[in-house]
């Protein structure tokens, strides 16, 4: 656009006449408002007869001259006058800034808010657990309401589909543990104890914990995202209205599948970690597989396996509950789905590790060392 706005001012009969010409638009408004700021005369008359083009920003500028400095407008065409009237009508005290809060107050507020949020989340999870128990009781009383299809589908998603990644991860972790252990134990000439290290740590802690972390990342997040978007699109409300309980149809199958799949996946992970460690021992330390297996059977007590089998369902319950609970908390917009998904994973992993610590103390106390 080559058309420029020119502003000329001259004093005629005691009045300062501002003559605009050309286009009075957003393109020129920056220079114009600077120029207008320099004019200090009183008794302004604004002459628009040479203005070819005006948009709302131009009209706003004229309106401001009229409002703040009592300018009289002459020479406006019908359209321009309409535009000015329109802008004048829109000149209302609209609030566009958030209220200012001092940083100290804000930080204090944030701390308080997060404390309340943590408390509410704990209460919510507890309530959710209660609702889950009621659902389970209802399903036990009326077994026909058990949705086999939904549950088996979740078996596949949570369990079968995770085999590849969990297997690979555990295998690699097994190699890493064996390698690190061997380096340290070699200093004492006790390389053979690498087998103890791999066998016991994999079966007791590593297998189930790594599985829990992977399931939280794979399935816990998926639960939160699925339920969250269903909540947003009012699917869950629709379900409730029709008379289908979302707890029965959506949450129970997911929780049950995770609870049942976790021990299997945990055991599978432990086995593959031992396989990885065994492979390393064979190749790197020259311990033949037969010896490795034999020694593993000698040094790993059965209680290590029981620990995994007991812990895994509890971890599964926590992960599935955190995922489903956070998914159902989604409100408002799609951004919230992302936030809740992150929270579900963080919460799931955090709670799993906390509970794992309790388990460790408990099992030591009862002599399952």
């Amino acid at each position: 656009m080559s058309v420029t706005t020119d502003l000329s001012s001259n004093v005629e009969g005691g009045k300062c006449v501002l003559r605009f010409s050309g286009s009075l638009t957003l393109l020129r408004v920056r220079r114009l408002s600077e120029e207008l700021g320099e004019i200090e005369a009183e008794n302004l008359v604004v002459d628009l007869s040479d203005v070819e083009k005006m948009d709302t920003v131009g009209a706003w500028l004229i309106h401001k001259l009229e409002r703040d400095r009592g300018a009289t407008i002459v020479g406006a065409t019908e359209e321009q006058q309409l535009l000015i009237d329109h802008v004048t009508g829109a000149d209302q005290p609209v609030k566009i800034k958030r209220d200012y809060v001092s940083p100290f107050q804000r930080v204090l507020g944030q701390i308080g808010a997060s404390m309340m949020l943590a408390g509410r989340t704990m209460l919510g999870l507890l309530g959710f657990f209660g609702a889950l128990l009621i659902t389970i009781w209802n399903i036990i009383r009326r077994p026909r309401r058990f949705r086999l299809n939904a549950v088996t589908q979740q078996f596949e998603v949570v369990g079968v589909d995770a085999l590849g990644i969990i297997g690979l991860m555990s295998f690699l972790v097994g190699i890493v543990i064996a390698e690190q252990g061997a380096v340290q134990l070699r200093q004492f000439g006790a390389e053979i104890y690498t087998i103890n290290l791999i066998g016991r740590s994999a079966l007791k802690e590593l297998g189930v914990l790594m599985t829990a972390i992977m399931v939280a990342g794979r399935s816990g997040s998926a639960f939160a995202a699925q339920l969250g978007s269903m909540k947003l699109s009012e699917e869950i409300d629709a379900m409730r209205t029709i008379g289908v309980s979302p707890m029965e149809a959506l949450i129970f199958p997911r929780v049950l599948a995770t609870v049942l799949m976790m021990p299997l996946l945990g055991f599978y992970a432990a086995v593959l970690a031992i396989v990885g460690g065994g492979l390393f021992c064979w190749i790197s330390l020259g311990i033949p597989p037969v010896t490795f297996i034999q020694r593993t059977r000698e040094v790993v007590p059965m209680t290590d396996l029981w620990q995994t089998i007991i812990k895994a369902p509890v971890f599964g319950l926590i992960i599935a509950m955190a995922g489903c609970f956070q998914g159902l908390q989604v409100q408002g917009n799609a951004e919230e789905v992302g936030l809740r998904t992150t929270t579900a994973v963080v919460q799931g992993i955090f709670l799993v590790i906390v509970i794992d610590a309790f388990f460790a103390v408990f099992f030591t106390e009862i002599g399952w060392t």
Binding site: V57, L83, H86, D91, V94, E335
Partner: protein
């Protein structure tokens, strides 16, 4: 009527998703200064047509020109100066969720006119907010704090931020209450007079069609089957058009329109 400049021209447009063909050999021309309504049954590709024109949907074939410049196969930088001359309102408002309403309105202005001082930007945001009929405290709110209708108004305010010559509106009055919808119709027609706006309007709202549209295009059978003023369309012998305008709702809207014209 004198022959006016053509702002949007679509020729031989073809759009498809997989095997489903949405548009086939579609032609359309929008003239400067008119409010051009687009109607059609659900799934006839009204929104897809709009997305093709504004360059969000790459058509399989066809030619699209806006302001006399071809829109197909242009790079982003070249298309920028054309984009500056239009405003778009999406169906759900499509506000940026991390910004307040006022900041949303300022985004296009800041993008195309960097260096405007914040005071002026705030003033612009203030009158745009008021102009689009949002309440006095809406400017500081985030989109998630607004109702659906309010979001739509905020979307209009943002679409109008640069005082565009061409405005694309995708079902602007859907979800608004009748009072809000009527106020919106009035806003558009006033702005059209004042700014010389050209409006491309997708709507199902028969009242809006009668109240403000100069010409209406009917989308059916993958193409534009008819274009004209409402009386012209009514004279046509097309089943869907007859059903659309002469159905119970069409008759009611026509009656209101007649009454209003009689009053005026």
């Amino acid at each position: 009527m004198t022959e006016r400049e053509t702002i949007i021209e679509v020729k031989g447009l073809r759009n498809s998703f997989g095997t489903q063909v949405v548009h086939e050999d579609l032609d359309l021309a929008v003239k400067r200064g008119e409010i051009f309504g687009v109607v059609g049954g659900s799934g006839t590709g009204k929104s897809v047509l709009m997305r093709s024109i504004i360059g969000l949907q790459k058509p399989d074939a066809g030619e699209i020109t806006v302001f006399g410049e071809s829109m197909i196969g242009r790079d982003e930088e070249e298309a920028k100066h054309v984009r500056r001359r239009w405003g778009v309102l999406f169906q759900g408002g499509a506000l940026f969720s991390g910004l307040t309403v006022a900041e949303n309105i300022q985004v296009p202005i800041k993008e195309f006119f960097p260096g405007l001082d914040q005071e002026l930007l705030d003033e612009i945001a203030v009158y745009k907010t008021a102009m689009s009929g949002l309440g006095v405290d809406a400017g500081a709110k985030y989109p998630s704090e607004l109702s659906g209708g309010m979001r739509k108004r905020a979307g209009i305010a943002r679409a109008l931020a640069l005082d565009p010559e061409l405005l694309f509106l995708d079902e602007p009055t859907a979800g608004l209450d009748p009072i809000g919808a009527a106020a919106f119709d009035q806003l558009i027609s006033e702005l059209r007079h004042a700014l010389g706006l050209t409006v491309f309007l997708i709507t199902h709202d028969l009242d809006t069609l009668y109240a403000i549209c100069d010409r209406v295009a009917v989308l059916a059978d993958k193409k534009v089957v008819a274009v004209g003023t409402i009386p012209e369309l009514l004279a046509l012998d097309h089943e869907w058009i007859q059903e659309y305008f002469k159905g119970p709702r069409g008759r009611a809207a026509a009656a209101i329109n007649e009454r209003e014209e009689a009053d005026a």
